[in-house]
């Protein structure tokens, strides 16, 4: 049971990372900054609960808002660059954040115990959940509640004009601009939204694992974050979720069958998937087909029309 809950925990947090990158990819921005926002959410909310004894919900909220604020700031210079340059700019941002926290030492004596981020030693003792009677089931429940809310919000975006505008910007910026869309506003909004999502993911991550250090927030994690929406396909949020399950499930479960070779096979798998389905697992046609199938199934109970 603990094992299963552990997997659910990891998948949930990674889904938030993936959804954060998904929002940005809709507008055509391939961002590796998500891990930076993730880190900000983790450290800020951790510091709030550990050093300032804040309530978890308030801490998560402020952590994600801080992440969103920095995402907003990053959004503007990010507008000036596209494609490869954006990749490099966002890599730099994430590395700056990681190195900042690597050097951050903020030790405070709380109730007789020294707590707080300890530069190279990492940030230990993020024990809010344990100290307040949360069990693993509750933690996993909270994580997935947030995941569901975010997925619902992103799904709903596609039902209203905002989603179409986001995708229009991602498809053809010149045409979008000529149709009256303010590119700056849309891209910065997407970056900010992505930052908030990653931030809350970071906060949940920090509290559920009770320990973070700079090793967690490496660029590798950022590449995972973008790989989920790319492999899952940008047509639907569900694609990202499926990709997380597929990839994380593979990595975790793969340990059993392939032992040390699973990362090797993992790399090959990605290459294979991208060659076979460059548009991602869930592409437009598949989504359209599934929708038609669902429509037919729900009508199936009634008499033939």
């Amino acid at each position: 049971m603990t094992y299963l809950l552990g997997i659910l925990q990891t998948i949930g947090v990674h889904t938030l990372l993936g959804l954060s990158a998904y929002l940005l990819l809709l507008t055509g921005q391939l961002s590796l900054a998500q891990v930076g926002f993730f880190a900000i959410g983790a450290y800020v909310s951790g510091i709030l609960t550990v050093i300032f004894s804040w309530n978890i919900f308030a801490a998560l909220a402020l952590g994600s808002l801080m992440a969103g604020f920095f995402a907003f700031l990053v959004g503007f210079p990010a507008l000036r660059v596209k494609g490869l340059m954006l990749v490099v700019a966002t890599i730099s941002f994430s590395e700056i954040v990681r190195l900042f926290f690597f050097n951050l030492s903020w030790r405070v004596n709380v109730n007789g115990v020294e707590v707080g981020p300890d530069s190279t030693q990492g940030f230990r003792e993020i024990r809010y959940f344990a100290a307040n009677g949360w069990e693993q089931v509750h933690i996993v429940g909270l994580i997935w509640f947030v995941v569901m809310v975010v997925m619902l919000a992103l799904w709903w975006l596609d039902q209203v004009r905002a989603g179409a505008v986001l995708r229009a910007v991602g498809t053809d910026e010149l045409a979008a601009q000529s149709s009256g869309i303010n590119l700056t506003m849309v891209k910065v909004a997407a970056m900010t939204g992505g930052g908030v999502i990653a931030g809350i993911g970071g906060g949940l991550f920090a509290h559920s694992t009770t320990y973070v250090d700079h090793h967690t927030f490496v660029i590798l994690l950022a590449t995972f974050a973008v790989s989920y929406p790319i492999i899952g396909g940008l047509r639907s949020v569900i694609g990202t979720l499926l990709a997380v399950i597929f990839i994380q499930g593979f990595i975790i479960e793969g340990l059993r069958f392939m032992g040390d070779y699973r990362n090797l096979i993992f790399g090959l798998l990605i290459i294979l998937v991208m060659n076979l389905r460059p548009q991602g697992l869930l592409d437009g046609h598949l989504v359209a087909d599934v929708r038609k199938l669902l429509a037919r199934l729900t009508k199936g109970g009634k008499a033939d029309a």
Partner: protein, 295 residues
């Protein structure tokens, strides 16, 4: 902390010498990006992997150390060709995300292979002229770094020659500017791109070997920092600009060295990245890049 100008200039000298390696990697990234307008994130890893094969062939075949510097680049070229077929050859032309993702997969794969074959521990790499140390007035110059830099210049000159004086180079430049038109003119795009990947691979292999020779060890931990530095150099130099990559390589090497002197090893990279960020905000085209095209 006080630094007098001697420390600063010494630091600059070391940085510029080392920067030639970054210039080579940046050049390789630029060649590939210039040809296909797509990014090969596995490039630095394949360069290091080539250096590893060079190193390990010494023990397997009992060869003199010099052979590592030949086998390494050749193997990197071969790996580059394989990467082209695995990640780029069969992708739809307009799709940029899929090849990028595939190259990330390749990066994971190559890293894991290296870790497996070496059990994760660093291996010592033959140094070139380890005891050579010259003095120019009050400044010390590492002889081996000087050789590295000289060698890098030779390599860059060869690449420029290939690009601008041969039919292959012409084909590469034509394909990069107008792939469909190039195809219609009878330029074999896939062969041209394959050749570009091989060339970039060989270049990277030299960079990997030279890097290993300069620091004395080869370690899987080198791949990610080298990838990032290479990308930074490519971007600061201006996308697709050969001259830019070269100049930027030296500039980044020098900057890194100064930051190391002034802020220490823990914070050095923060400033390198801040420099990059600043650059992108103020001069998004890089040093020599052409204006970013509209669709």
């Amino acid at each position: 902390m006080n630094f007098d100008y001697i420390d600063i200039i010494q630091s600059l000298i070391d940085g510029v010498l080392f920067g030639s390696i970054y210039a080579l990697i940046g050049l390789g990234f630029t060649l590939i990006f210039g040809a296909m307008h797509k990014l090969n994130l596995a490039y630095a890893a394949s360069s290091i992997a080539g250096a590893y094969t060079g190193l390990m062939s010494l023990t397997i075949f009992g060869l003199p150390p010099l052979m590592a510097f030949i086998i390494g680049p050749v193997m990197s070229g071969a790996i580059g060709l394989v990467l082209y077929f695995a990640c780029f050859r069969f992708m739809p032309r307009g799709n940029h995300l899929a090849p990028l993702m595939a190259s990330i997969g390749a990066l994971f794969f190559i890293d894991e292979v290296i870790i497996h074959e070496t059990s994760g521990s660093p291996m010592s790499f033959p140094a070139i002229l380890p005891d050579a140390y010259f003095f120019l007035g009050e400044f010390g110059i590492r002889g081996d770094l000087l050789l590295v830099m000289g060698f890098s210049f030779i390599l860059m000159a060869i690449v420029m020659l290939l690009l601008y004086r041969t039919k292959l180079g012409l084909g590469t430049r034509a394909t990069s500017q107008q792939p469909v038109a190039a195809l219609l003119c009878g330029i074999p795009i896939h062969r041209t791109n394959s050749a570009t990947f091989i060339l970039a691979g060989v270049l990277g292999g030299f960079a990997g070997c030279l890097l290993a020779a300069s620091v004395g060890v080869l370690s899987p931990l080198l791949t990610l920092p080298l990838t990032v530095k290479g990308l930074i150099v490519t971007v600061i130099g201006g996308l697709g600009s050969i001259r830019g990559a070269i100049v930027a390589g030296f500039a980044v090497g020098a900057a890194e060295s100064i930051f190391l002197l002034v802020r220490g090893v823990n914070e050095r990279d923060i400033y390198v990245f801040l420099l990059l960020f600043l650059f992108l905000v103020l001069r998004p085209n890089g040093l020599f890049g052409t204006t970013i095209n509209r669709d």
